[in-house]
């Protein structure tokens, strides 16, 4: 159930504005490039937003730009948080649902926290820059943006405010009995030293096979095969909470929200985290229901971390993408690899790993959406050097060197002795939850901006129909021949090949209307992919409206009606994902 939150949201958001009268944002003293110089809503992207801060920013944007932004909640998460979606468009050119839509989401894996910052930045940047940037202004006139920064808001707050590591929680927080012992979430990690981080545990042990890295002593590395050991290491801080002899075997949640989508879904034994069946996770189902109810969404970007990847499906070798669609995704991905230093365009199952039931595949395969996933932050960011993907140790060393030289050692918790209820005296230490997969503050802004820019390129590549020309020519016998050229001057077709192959959305409609244009007045109509109508396709049902499989990207379709009657006529195009356009028909003799 989608609950419109617009009016309530505006009202609620307006209250603090009136009461505390948000301090005016000081004008920038210099016409800098990059972030909006004089924003209406103050926002910082050298810091991360928790659920409350992100909610406040979204509400402030909806309040400050009531004509261009509307905020709604798709429902409440398991933990009672709102599933916010901010819709952006310029209403002067029609309502959002009449325009090709671009979906942006982030944070479905909530520990991947900058995945939520890029959508927030994008919404803020688009609204604040519209009046000064003609590209942004055009995009908002031509497109609708649906921005969902927090796909898993409970787990986002858990990552911010509860002890975790950089990898947790990837799951949402619906309890799952992961070890099938009849108890749920009964034995997760424990913050033994109370510092807010789940790090590692070590104990001095001559029979252990670990030692401190001589160059970066915070880090534990395996001993060489012929080298005496120094420490035993356990990788997740915690103890056996439930007395079953196992440590941390059933922590919060226990599923992967990005393996619960309905295209190519496979169950838990094939795909870890699949949960019970497609959309058995209600948060995912809310999003799927929203996207289904907005078939105008033609493109999508989901933000994850990390690795510097621009990913396209299929997620599994046996999955099928139409070749023409794969080529489009590769074209867009290649541009992204230029815009995002250190990023590569990759095919998921071949270049990363196999994923069943991923969101990116559902968007494509069930909804016909040109869908990409960015894995934010890459080792390249440390020293602007490509890493050797085969040298994991070298990659880790880059991170350690960066911590030592640029973070000045901030990324690690020093080893500290604690009493462990089962292991006795141990030491706790290691990387903080905020270091490893997330950029530090001074790199976050750049990551947000570059990835937004790539998404705007992606959004601009979506189809957009126009009636390039519509002319009438008199034929003998009182007939008029009307010819319209329906063009799409953008990269993507109005319907992807998968859409045409499986009828995911209806065909595009090109209609001839005018006084006296009843069905019987149109003798015949047909369309052709080339201007000479060498292989015309006749419209068999009601010939007033020609049904087109698609208008190709950077191309056109030629439509013709034979009509008993005379101008004025109007030609209208109505494409689910390609927008709408209208033109008056001009008689050829008076066209010049």
């Amino acid at each position: 159930m989608i609950r419109t939150f617009l009016s309530l949201g505006c009202l609620l958001a307006a209250l603090p504005t009136l009461v505390s009268a948000v301090a005016p944002v000081p004008a920038a003293p210099y016409p800098q490039m990059g972030i909006p110089a004089n924003p209406k809503v103050a926002a910082r992207f050298d810091m991360y937003h928790d659920y409350a801060a992100a909610t406040e920013l979204l509400q402030q944007l909806a309040t400050a730009f009531p004509d261009y932004a509307s905020l709604q909640s798709l429902g409440q998460s398991y933990g009672g948080r709102e599933m916010w979606v901010l819709t952006l468009t310029d209403p002067a050119t029609g309502p959002a649902e009449s325009k090709p839509g671009f979906w942006i989401d982030g944070g479905i894996h909530a520990n991947e926290i900058q995945g939520s910052e890029v959508p927030l930045y994008t919404a803020w940047f688009l609204l604040e820059s519209r009046s000064t940037n003609t590209f942004v202004e055009r995009l908002l006139r031509e497109r609708a943006f649906y921005v969902m920064p927090m796909m898993s808001p409970d787990a986002r707050d858990a990552h911010f405010h509860e002890p975790n590591d950089t990898h947790s929680p990837r799951s949402g927080l619906r309890p799952v009995d992961e070890d099938h012992d009849g108890l749920v979430d009964e034995d997760g990690p424990d913050d033994l030293n109370g510092d807010g981080f789940i790090t590692q545990m070590r104990a001095a042990d001559p029979n252990g096979r670990w030692k401190p890295d001589p160059d970066y002593p915070q880090r534990m590395i395996p001993c060489k095969p012929d080298e005496p050991g120094q420490y035993a290491v356990w990788f997740d801080e915690g103890y056996d909470n439930d007395g079953d002899g196992l440590v941390n075997e059933d922590g919060p949640g226990g599923y992967d929200p990005n393996r619960n989508w309905a295209w190519g879904w496979q169950p838990e034994y094939v795909q870890y985290g699949a949960h019970y069946y497609p959309f058995s996770i209600p948060e995912d189902r809310m999003v799927a229901d929203f996207i289904r109810a907005h078939p105008n969404i033609a493109g999508a970007q989901s933000y994850h971390n990390n690795g510097g990847m621009i990913l396209h499906g299929p997620g599994m070798q046996e999955g099928h993408y139409e070749p023409a669609d794969s080529a489009l995704l590769e074209t867009i991905g290649a541009r992204g690899a230029e815009m995002l230093p250190g990023y590569r365009s990759m095919l998921i199952w071949r270049d990363l790993y196999t994923v069943y039931g991923g969101e990116v595949d559902w968007l494509y395969g069930c909804q016909g959406i040109l869908s990409l996933t960015d894995e934010l932050f890459t080792d390249y960011d440390y020293f602007n050097q490509p890493d050797d993907p085969n040298d994991r140790d070298g990659r880790r060393n880059q991170a350690r060197q960066f911590d030592r030289d640029l973070l000045l050692g901030q990324g690690f918790v020093s080893w500290q002795a604690v009493d462990h209820p089962q292991y006795g005296k141990v030491e706790v230490g290691g990387a903080k939850k905020s270091w490893g997969r997330q950029p530090p503050s001074f790199m976050l802004e750049q990551e947000c901006h570059r990835n937004m820019a790539f998404s705007l390129y992606h959004a601009d590549s979506l189809p957009l129909v126009s009636v390039q020309s519509a002319t009438a020519r008199a034929l003998p016998g009182g007939l008029t021949e009307v010819t319209a050229v329906v063009a799409n001057t953008h990269l993507a077709p109005t319907r992807l090949a998968v859409d045409v192959a499986h009828g995911l959305t209806r065909p595009d409609y090109v209609s001839l209307t005018g006084k006296g244009i009843v069905a019987s007045a149109v003798t015949a109509s047909y369309w052709s992919s080339e201007r000479f109508f060498l292989n015309p396709v006749e419209q068999k049902t009601d010939p007033r409206t020609i049904e087109l499989p698609a208008v190709p990207g950077m191309g056109a379709v030629y439509c013709r009606w034979l009509v008993r009657g005379k101008v004025p006529f109007v030609v209208s195009v109505d494409s689910v994902k390609g927008g709408r356009a209208t033109a008056a028909v001009k008689p050829l003799d008076s066209a010049s």
């Binding site: 012992d181 007395g243 002899g245 169950p267 069946y277 058995s280 289904r292 499986h502 959305t505 065909p507």
Partner: protein
């Protein structure tokens, strides 16, 4: 023995008399039928209950059939029955599901009767072994739709769908061109057609064989016109999603009737949620189009990482269950089951990870000895049909019978006709000339099987079918795993230390979990818990542990702990899994007192 069905106005051939009704009168007639007060009887199957009456009978069972699972998009309600015995303890359960596919009416009626028996003393023996959940009507809208004229035989819910994926919903449904109230088939005379009349009975159409020197006689369509002029006939009728094509195993994405995605319908989701919420379910038994009881699954290629064939370790047990089934049901004429893609029964084994048993609710039996063989009986008069009389068309019964022994074409349909004729069941609409605007000037006939009457048993057989199902399920329940804890050895080691050892055995026939169940991972393994008296500690061994599956017929393992405890105290050991049951043992710590 099947009884002849009483002829009743309103649904027999007498309705239209085989004549082509004008569209207007047909509409009038439909209007009249709808205006009649709702009957407690199903309009298509004499002696069957209407959907509402069936739901009422289930409700009449009382508190045992009163758990509401879902409200469908069309407002129908899905209920579950739960039958239990007052005996205490952890007990496994069987889940029995019907109301699916072309035999949905028969299976729903049989499960109503099964539920009634379980609520009565008849069910006591079964309930001693296991609880039983009954879902007789998981897709009530599909059953109601099938009983709404004209009768299509479909089993889809009322969720409007774009079956042909052209962007329009339900825009080209069938029409009852011959006015008999049923949607059957159209055969269009067509020398380029892919069908021809069976040489032994021209009512039956068989595909033209590419190997034989045969010419086509007919093109065959479902009965109706091409409403949307797209060149396809009746490709997108009213509704809907088939409950039994909406499950995740080999889900037929994009196929008609499968839904927008697996588990997309409220009723499918509710049944999945219900089953996942009941870890005690050990066996799922489905009466529907799929079958592994008349034709047990053969172990073979299991499909690699994604399992598509029964696992070799599970196949022998399923064979034994099949033998129990065959003790109750004569399966000589049982047709092979339908494809499992998207089906509930295959999901129950491959994804839900339970023993999944599947059978058709009924099938047309082998002819009795005294009944005529195909071709020997004189078919109903066909003189009115133009087939044989049309110049240039092959005669209905050519001199050279095309039906050699090996030719299987039409064999099943011939058997159906023979059974319908012998039992005077009005299950075949004779081919009747109709006018069809899609084929001007071409001879078009409507006719063919009223499939509901071929896939569902005569009402008179429902009681005995339910009796047999109860016997079969009682036998299945007798195969369930049974845990015992025995061979307890307590060895004092001094200083209050005891070595405690005992054996956990499965004395039932089935293993504690199927191999597929263990792999699927949704089952609860057997958990062994050691409860200590005050002042006792475990020196080695785990207080709680989860065990791998125990084989059936005596599969066992040894459990051992080293504990330190005050002399004379008692330890308690339990081994339990919701879908298996529990065994308990008290162990007295004696000897070696210091």
């Amino acid at each position: 023995m099947a009884r002849p069905l009483p002829a009743r106005a309103g649904y027999t051939r007498g309705l239209g008399g085989g004549e082509l009704l004008q569209r207007t009168s047909l509409v009038l007639l439909c209007g009249l039928l709808m205006a009649l007060p709702a009957s407690a009887d199903d309009a298509t199957l004499p002696g069957y209950l209407s959907t509402e009456a069936l739901a009422q009978r289930l409700a009449d069972i009382g508190a045992s059939y009163a758990e509401k699972l879902a409200t469908t998009r069309a407002g129908g309600t899905v209920w579950a029955g739960h039958f239990s015995s007052p005996a205490p303890g952890l007990r496994p359960a069987l889940a029995v599901v019907g109301g699916l596919g072309p035999g949905q009416q028969g299976s729903a009626e049989v499960l109503l009767r099964l539920a009634q028996r379980l609520a009565a003393p008849d069910g006591a023996e079964l309930l001693q072994h296991a609880d039983v959940y009954v879902l007789a009507l998981p897709s009530p809208d599909a059953l109601r739709g099938a009983a709404t004229a004209p009768y299509t035989g479909a089993s889809v819910n009322a969720n409007p769908s774009d079956d042909d994926r052209d962007g329009k919903l339900d825009e080209d449904g069938p029409e009852d061109l011959d006015g008999d109230g049923w949607i059957t088939q159209l055969r269009v005379h067509d020398p380029a057609g892919k069908y021809r009349a069976h040489p032994l009975d021209p009512r039956v159409l068989i595909p033209v064989s590419p190997d034989k020197h045969e010419s086509g006689e007919y093109s065959v369509y479902t009965e109706g016109v091409d409403n949307d002029h797209d060149g396809q006939y009746n490709e997108d009728g009213p509704g809907g999603v088939d409950f039994n094509r909406n499950w995740t195993w080999n889900y037929p994405q994009y196929a008609p009737g499968a839904g927008v995605n697996a588990v997309s319908e409220p009723e499918t989701r509710a049944v999945a949620d219900f089953l996942f919420a009941h870890p005690e379910i050990a066996v799922v038994y489905t009466l529907g189009p799929q079958d592994n009881l008349a034709h047990p699954w053969e172990a073979g290629n299991d499909g690699g990482a994604i399992k598509t064939g029964v696992l070799a370790d599970d196949a022998p047990a399923l064979k034994v269950v099949s033998e129990l089934y065959k003790q109750q049901f004569d399966t000589a004429a049982a047709p092979p089951g339908a494809s499992g893609d998207g089906s509930f029964a295959y999901w129950a084994y491959f994804h839900y990870g339970r023993w999944s048993l599947a059978a058709l609710p009924w099938w047309v039996p082998e002819p009795k000895k005294e009944e005529a063989k195909p071709g020997e009986a004189t078919p109903p008069p066909l003189a009115a049909l133009p087939t044989a009389a049309t110049p240039g068309q092959p005669a209905a019964a050519p001199a050279k019978p095309a039906g050699d022994e090996k030719d299987e074409r039409g064999k099943e349909e011939l058997r159906w006709l023979q059974w319908l004729d012998a039992n005077h069941i009005d299950g075949f609409a004779p081919w009747t000339a109709v006018e069809d605007p899609d084929f001007p000037g071409v001879q078009v006939e409507a006719g063919g099987f009223r499939t509901l009457r071929v896939f569902n048993p005569p009402a008179g057989e429902l009681d005995s079918l339910a009796d047999k199902q109860l016997k079969f399920l009682t036998a299945v329940a007798g195969l369930l795993p049974q845990l015992t804890l025995d061979r307890i050895k307590v060895e004092p080691r001094g200083a209050g230390v005891y070595h405690v050892e005992l054996r956990l055995a499965n004395t039932g026939f089935l293993p504690t979990h199927s191999a597929m169940g263990a792999l699927a991972g949704y089952n609860y393994p057997v958990q062994v818990t050691l409860t200590l008296p005050a002042g006792a500690i475990i020196l080695s061994g785990r207080q709680r542990q989860l065990l791998p599956p125990l084989a059936g017929s005596g599969g066992s393992l040894e459990l051992a702990w080293l504990v330190q405890a005050p002399f004379g105290k008692e330890l308690h050991v339990s081994a339990a899994s919701p879908s298996v049951g529990a065994a308990e043992a008290d162990i007295q710590l004696m000897g070696g007192a210091s």
